[in-house]
C-alpha cells in the first residue's frame, strides 16, 4: 500500500497543518485527521506487529473495531497510554505516538522468529509444546514467551490526571450519533422530555461522515439539535455498558484530543445515566474475509478505505483491488473511483451480481471478476499483488496492486442490546444476529437493528481455496493471531461449544472483543462441526464495549479522596503531638505517642507504666454508640444480648456480650442505663454499623410490636478515657453536678452532669483494670475538654496513650477483643465467658445454637494465656501451636496465638491464645514452631495482673 493525500476532499482542515511523531519520526497531518489517516496519507503501511507471531500488520479498519494498529500515546510523565487504536486517536499538534510489540523496530522485529516457528505455536500450545522438562516452563519458557507476546506496556507511575463523574437522568437516551441516532434524537427532542445523545467519535455523523451527499443534512440536523434546550449532545463519549433498568455507563473523553499544554481540568468524565427509554443506534461493523494472506499490510475493509478517502481525503493506494462477497464492496469501490482513487479490479465470489453495479463498474473502467476468489496475497511489509482463481480453486491469475479491500458483509452491533439481556435472532440475509426481544425499555434504530440498506450478499466462513486451512495464514482474529486452521484444530481436538472454542483458541478475547472476528469464527466452527450456526451458540457480550481507564471508573474516589478516612474531633491534637496512627475499620486512630528518640516498644512501655502508676488519657471516640429508647428497651436488650438487663438499675452499667443466631460471639461492649427506658449501648469500633443493622433487623422484622427505637450516637459523643490511680483526682476539679466519691459513684456506673461547663455522660468503666472513667461529651466540645483534662492532669504526669497501649493493658487483664481474640467461631464458653450468660433467660439471640452438638462436644478451642519460657520472647500473633514439637510434618495444630505483647507492667512477654481443650492444659507446656526455631510456652490463666480486681474498687 502506498497511501497518499488526495488533492481535495474530506472534512479535514487543510489550512490547519499539524506536526506529530510516530516511532520517533516526524510526520505532518491536518486538523480533523486521526493518527491513522495521517499516517496512511504519509505512506505508512506497517502499524504494528501481531501479538503472537509478530507478523507485520497494517490498518484494517477506521473505527473502534480496528484490531492491528494499536499504539502507545505519550502525553508526558505518568501519562503514557498503551493499546489505543490509531483510528480513534485524534491528531493534535505535537502528538507523540509509538507502535507496540516490536523489537527493535516495526520494520525489523526479532520477534518475527515466532512467525517462522509458527508450527510450534498453534492454539492451546502452552498445553502441548514447551512441556519438558516441567521445571523449564516456570523458569525459561513462560518468562520468554511472556516477554515476546503482548501488546503495549503498562504504565508504572501514578496517573497524575484527575477525573470527573456524574449521574444524569433523561427520558430518552440515544446511543450513537449517526443518521439513525440523530433522527431519533430530533424526534425525541421534539416530543419534550430530557434527551441525551452520545457518540464515541470526535464529531457526530457516523456513517454520514463518509458520504458527502449527507453533509448538508448533517449540518442542519446538528444545528436543530443544538437549538433544543432539552437535548444534550455528548461527543467523544463511549457508552461502555448497559445495565439493569436502563442504567448506562459512559465515559466522556475531555482532553486527550488537545495538546497537553492546552489541556486543563478533568481528563475524562464518567456518566452514570438512568434513562426512561434507550434508543440504540450503534450501526454495523463490516466483516473481513478469511483467506490466505488476509493480514498483509494493505489489506483493509472496503468501508475503511471509503472513510479514509471521503472523510479524511486519503487514498489507500495507487492501484487498488476489491474482493467482495457483498454489494457494499461495489458501492465503496465506485465511491472511491469517483474520488479519483484507481480501482484496478473488483473480484466477487458470487457468479451473479446486480447488473447496475456491474455496468457502473465497467463505466468507471474497473475490471470485474465475478465467480472468483482471492487465493493469495503477495508482499510482506506491504501488498504488492494478489492471486485470484475462479471459485478459488481454478487456474490462478495475478493482479498487481498496492491495496486489497475486502467486503465480507455487515454485522449489526448488538453489544449494548445484549448487555441489557435483549435476545437475538439469526438473520440469513444479514448472515448475522439481529436484536429480537428486549426486557428493558430499549429499541434499536438503523443498521444495528437491521434497518439499513447495504445491499445484498452472501456469507462464507472462509474464501474457497485449493490449499487446506492448516496450511493457510488465514486470520480470523487479527489481534490474538487466531487462524481459521486454529478453529478447525479446536474442533478436531474435541471442542464443541463456541464458549470452549473461543477460550481454547482465544478467538474474540482480545481488547477488540471480537468485533471483527466473532461471526467469522462462528461460521468456521459451524462448518467444522457440521452444525448450523444457530446451534453452535454465540459468546456473551460483556462490558466494557471498548477498554476504559480505571481513573474514569473511580469517579470521585481517587488519590486523597480514594476513601473517606474518618477522624475523631481529638485527632488534630494527636497529630500535633506526634502520634503515630493506624487504621481501624474506616478510622485512623493514634497508636502511640513517641517522645524524642522513642521507638514503638519504648513509647508503649512508658505509656503503660504511666497508666498503671499514675494516670493516662485515651481517645475512645470511635467506639460505636447506640441510644436504645422506649418502654421495651430492657426487654429488647435482653433478647439481643446474652446478659440479663431488666434488673440493671438506672445509673448502672453492664458489660454486654452479643452472639449471632448461630451462637458465635459477634460483638461486645458496656451499656449504661440512663433511665428506665433509655440505654446508652456501646459496641466495638469496627462493629458499630453491623451491630445496629443486626438490631434493626430483629426489631423491624421479628419483634415489630416492641416499643423501642435505636439511634446511632457514635459521632455525637466523643469519649475521653481517663485511666489510672489518679484518674479521679484529674477530673474532679472539672466536673460539676456529680458526686465522684467511690460510694456515690461505684465501678460500672454512669452519671450525668457537666465537665468544663459542657454536658457529660460520665461512665466509671475500665478497660485497663485501673480506676477509670470514660468522659462522654458532645463531639463539638471534645477537643477543648481533652485539652482541659490534659492541663488538669499535668501535676500527675498525665500521659496520652494510643491503641497499642490500650491493647496491652486490657490483655494483662485478660479482656478479649472481638475480632482479634475471636474470629466468628468462638462461643461464650470457649472464651471462658459463661458468666455473661443470663442463666434464667428463656431466650436470646444465639441461645438455641449454644446447645448444638458441635458446641457442647469436647475438643473446642478455648481462650487461655501463654507465658513463654524466655520472658523476652514475644510470640507472633497468628502463630500456630502444637503439643508435640517432634511430630512429623504436617503437624497437628491445636490452636493459635491471638494477642501477644511485651508487658512493661510484668517485665516480660504475655500472650493470649485459642487452644483445643485449653482449660484442661493449665500449667502444661505447648510449642510454637517458627521458621528456624521452636518456642516453648506454658498455659496459664488469661488474667496476668491483679486477678482479684482490687485496683478497680478505689
Amino acid at each position: 500500500m502506498s497511501g497518499y493525500r488526495l488533492p481535495a476532499g474530506g472534512r479535514i482542515d487543510r489550512n490547519a497543518p499539524i506536526r506529530f511523531r510516530f516511532d520517533g519520526k516526524d510526520y505532518r497531518g491536518f486538523a480533523g485527521d486521526t493518527l491513522a489517516s495521517a499516517l496512511v496519507a504519509s505512506g505508512v503501511t506497517v502499524f504494528g506487529r501481531s501479538f503472537k507471531y509478530h507478523r507485520p500488520r497494517g490498518l484494517l479498519a477506521t473505527g473502534v473495531e480496528e484490531p492491528n494498529a494499536l499504539v502507545t500515546i505519550d502525553r508526558g510523565p505518568g501519562r503514557v497510554t498503551p493499546n489505543l487504536r490509531a483510528p480513534s486517536v485524534a491528531l493534535h499538534e505535537g502528538l507523540t505516538a509509538a507502535s507496540q510489540n516490536r523489537y527493535p523496530s516495526l520494520r525489523l522485529d526479532l520477534g518475527a522468529v515466532n512467525d517462522k516457528l509458527g508450527a510450534f505455536f498453534p492454539a492451546g500450545f502452552y498445553n502441548k509444546t514447551f512441556m519438558w522438562p516441567r521445571s523449564a516452563w516456570e523458569k525459561v519458557y513462560e518468562p520468554a514467551i511472556r516477554r515476546m507476546a503482548g501488546l503495549g506496556e503498562s504504565p508504572v507511575t501514578r496517573d497524575p490526571d484527575h477525573y470527573a463523574a456524574t449521574y444524569a437522568h433523561c427520558e430518552t437516551l440515544v446511543i450513537g450519533g449517526g443518521p439513525a441516532g440523530i433522527a431519533a434524537a430530533l424526534e425525541a427532542g421534539g416530543r419534550g422530555g430530557r434527551v441525551i445523545l452520545i457518540d464515541e467519535q470526535e464529531e457526530p455523523g457516523g456513517g454520514a461522515l463518509a458520504d458527502p451527499a449527507q453533509w448538508a443534512w448533517l449540518e442542519e440536523s446538528l444545528a436543530r439539535l443544538a437549538a433544543l434546550a432539552n437535548v444534550r449532545v455528548l461527543t467523544r463519549t463511549t457508552a461502555f455498558g448497559f445495565y439493569h433498568r436502563n442504567f448506562v455507563g459512559a465515559v466522556e473523553r475531555l482532553t486527550d484530543h488537545l495538546p497537553p499544554a492546552g489541556a486543563s481540568g478533568a481528563r475524562e468524565k464518567l456518566w452514570r445515566i438512568r434513562a426512561g427509554e434507550v434508543v440504540l443506534a450503534q450501526g454495523a461493523i463490516e466483516r473481513p474475509l478469511v483467506f490466505d494472506g488476509n493480514d498483509v499490510p494493505g489489506v483493509m475493509l472496503a468501508s475503511a478505505a471509503r472513510t479514509l478517502a471521503l472523510r479524511y481525503g486519503v487514498a489507500v493506494g495507487r492501484r487498488v483491488v476489491v474482493m467482495a462477497v457483498h454489494d457494499s464492496g461495489w458501492r465503496d469501490a465506485l465511491a472511491l473511483a469517483a474520488a479519483v482513487v484507481t480501482i484496478a479490479a473488483i473480484v466477487d465470489l458470487r457468479d451473479a451480481v446486480d447488473s447496475r453495479l456491474l455496468s457502473a463498474a465497467e463505466a468507471a473502467g474497473i475490471a470485474c471478476r465475478t465467480g472468483h476468489a482471492v487465493t493469495g496475497v503477495r508482499g510482506r511489509l506491504a501488498v504488492s499483488g494478489v492471486e485470484i482463481a475462479p471459485g478459488g480453486t481454478g487456474a490462478a491469475e495475478r493482479i498487481a496492486c498496492d491495496a486489497l479491500l475486502i467486503a465480507g458483509g455487515w454485522t449489526p452491533s448488538v453489544h449494548l442490546w445484549s448487555h441489557a439481556r435483549g435476545t437475538l435472532r439469526w438473520d440469513d440475509a444479514w448472515g448475522a444476529y439481529l436484536p429480537d426481544a428486549a426486557i428493558e425499555q430499549v429499541r434499536c434504530v438503523g443498521a444495528c437493528g437491521g434497518d439499513w440498506d447495504f445491499g445484498g450478499g452472501v456469507a462464507v466462513p472462509a474464501l474457497p481455496s485449493a490449499k487446506p486451512a492448516h496450511r493457510q495464514k488465514a486470520f480470523v482474529d487479527y489481534q490474538n493471531d487466531v487462524k481459521s486452521g486454529d478453529i478447525e484444530l479446536a474442533v478436531r481436538e474435541g471442542y464443541r461449544s463456541i464458549e470452549h472454542i473461543k477460550r481454547y483458541t482465544t478467538n474474540g478475547m482480545a481488547t477488540d472483543q471480537g468485533k471483527t472476528s466473532n461471526l467469522n469464527g462462528l461460521r468456521i466452527a459451524s462448518e467444522a462441526l457440521a452444525r448450523p450456526v444457530t446451534q453452535v451458540g454465540l459468546t456473551t457480550f460483556r462490558p466494557p464495549y471498548t477498554p476504559q481507564t480505571f481513573g474514569a471508573l473511580m469517579g470521585h474516589h481517587k488519590d486523597a479522596l480514594f476513601q473517606p478516612v474518618r477522624k475523631t474531633a481529638i485527632d488534630g491534637w494527636a497529630m500535633e503531638h506526634g502520634a503515630v496512627f493506624e487504621n481501624v475499620a474506616q478510622w485512623r486512630r493514634a497508636r502511640y505517642f513517641p517522645q524524642a528518640g522513642e521507638d514503638m516498644h519504648a513509647a508503649v512501655a512508658r505509656e503503660c507504666r504511666a497508666v498503671r502508676e499514675s494516670v493516662g488519657m485515651f481517645d475512645a471516640s470511635t467506639l460505636g454508640k447506640i441510644e436504645v429508647v422506649g418502654p421495651d428497651a430492657a426487654e429488647f436488650l435482653n433478647r439481643m444480648y446474652t446478659n440479663p438487663w431488666k434488673s440493671l438499675l438506672p445509673g448502672r452499667c453492664r458489660y454486654g456480650l452479643m452472639l449471632r443466631e448461630d451462637g458465635f460471639i459477634t460483638d461486645d461492649g458496656v451499656a449504661g442505663r440512663m433511665a428506665d427506658d433509655r440505654f446508652h449501648v456501646t459496641t466495638t469500633t469496627g462493629g458499630a454499623a453491623r451491630v445496629l443493622a443486626m438490631m434493626e433487623d430483629y426489631l423491624q422484622t421479628e419483634w415489630p410490636g416492641l416499643n423501642v427505637w435505636l439511634t446511632s450516637t457514635t459521632e455525637h459523643w466523643a469519649v475521653i478515657a481517663v485511666q489510672g490511680p489518679r484518674a479521679r483526682d484529674v477530673i474532679a476539679p472539672l466536673v460539676e453536678g456529680i458526686d465522684l466519691s467511690p460510694d456515690a459513684f461505684p465501678h460500672m456506673a454512669v452519671r450525668e452532669g457537666r465537665i468544663c461547663g459542657v454536658p457529660t455522660r460520665l461512665f466509671r468503666v475500665s478497660f485497663t483494670g485501673e480506676l477509670g472513667f470514660e468522659v462522654n461529651v458532645p463531639a463539638g466540645h471534645a477537643r477543648a475538654v481533652w485539652e482541659a483534662i490534659d492541663v488538669a492532669g499535668q501535676q500527675f504526669g498525665i500521659t496520652p496513650y494510643g491503641t497499642e497501649t490500650m491493647h496491652v493493658l486490657r490483655a494483662e487483664k485478660g479482656f478479649i477483643i472481638v475480632g482479634q481474640d475471636t474470629d466468628g467461631t468462638v462461643t461464650p464458653d470457649d472464651a471462658g465467658m459463661d458468666w455473661a450468660i443470663g442463666k434464667k433467660k428463656r431466650d436470646f439471640v444465639g441461645k438455641r445454637s449454644l446447645a448444638r452438638p458441635d458446641m457442647v462436644v469436647g475438643g473446642r478451642k478455648q481462650f487461655v494465656g501463654l507465658l513463654t519460657d524466655d520472658p523476652a520472647e514475644v510470640l507472633e500473633e497468628g502463630a500456630q501451636i502444637v503439643a508435640d514439637p517432634a511430630q512429623p510434618m504436617p503437624m497437628t495444630m491445636i490452636g493459635h496465638v491471638t494477642s501477644s505483647y511485651w508487658s512493661a507492667t510484668l517485665g516480660r512477654s504475655i500472650a493470649l491464645a485459642l487452644v483445643r481443650d485449653g482449660r484442661a492444659l493449665m500449667g502444661e507446656a505447648l510449642y510454637v514452631p517458627m521458621p528456624g526455631r521452636t518456642i516453648r510456652a506454658t498455659v496459664c490463666p488469661t488474667v496476668f495482673y491483679d486477678a482479684e480486681g482490687s485496683r478497680l474498687n478505689d
Partner: protein
C-alpha cells in the same frame, strides 16, 4: 444498577441505597428451645435458592431505613413486586 420500588417511600430508588436481606418470610421460631437440631439447622442455614421467582427481603438502608419484601426473578433480575414488612406473602 437496579431500580427498586420502596413500598414505604413509594418511589423507585437506585439499588445503591439498599442492602439485600436474604430470603423472606422465614420467621424466627417463637420458642427456639423447643426445636430439634435438624429443625434449628434448617432455620439457620437452609434456603430455597430458586431459579426464578424469589421472595426476598431488602432494606432501604440509605433511605427510609425500612425492611420490606420483594418478589424478584433471579434469572432476569426483574422485580415483580415489593410490599411492606408484615404484609402477606405475594
Amino acid at each position: 444498577m437496579l431500580l427498586i420500588h420502596c413500598p414505604y417511600c413509594d418511589e423507585d430508588r437506585a439499588e445503591v441505597e439498599f442492602v439485600y436481606g436474604g430470603e423472606a418470610h422465614i420467621a424466627r421460631p417463637p420458642d427456639p428451645s423447643a426445636l430439634g437440631d435438624a429443625e434449628w439447622e434448617a432455620y439457620l442455614y437452609l434456603r430455597a435458592n430458586p431459579r426464578g421467582r424469589h421472595h426476598e427481603r431488602w432494606r432501604h438502608t440509605h433511605g427510609c431505613g425500612r425492611f420490606f419484601n420483594a418478589v424478584r426473578d433471579t434469572v432476569t433480575d426483574r422485580f415483580e413486586t415489593t410490599y411492606k414488612a408484615g404484609e402477606a406473602r405475594a
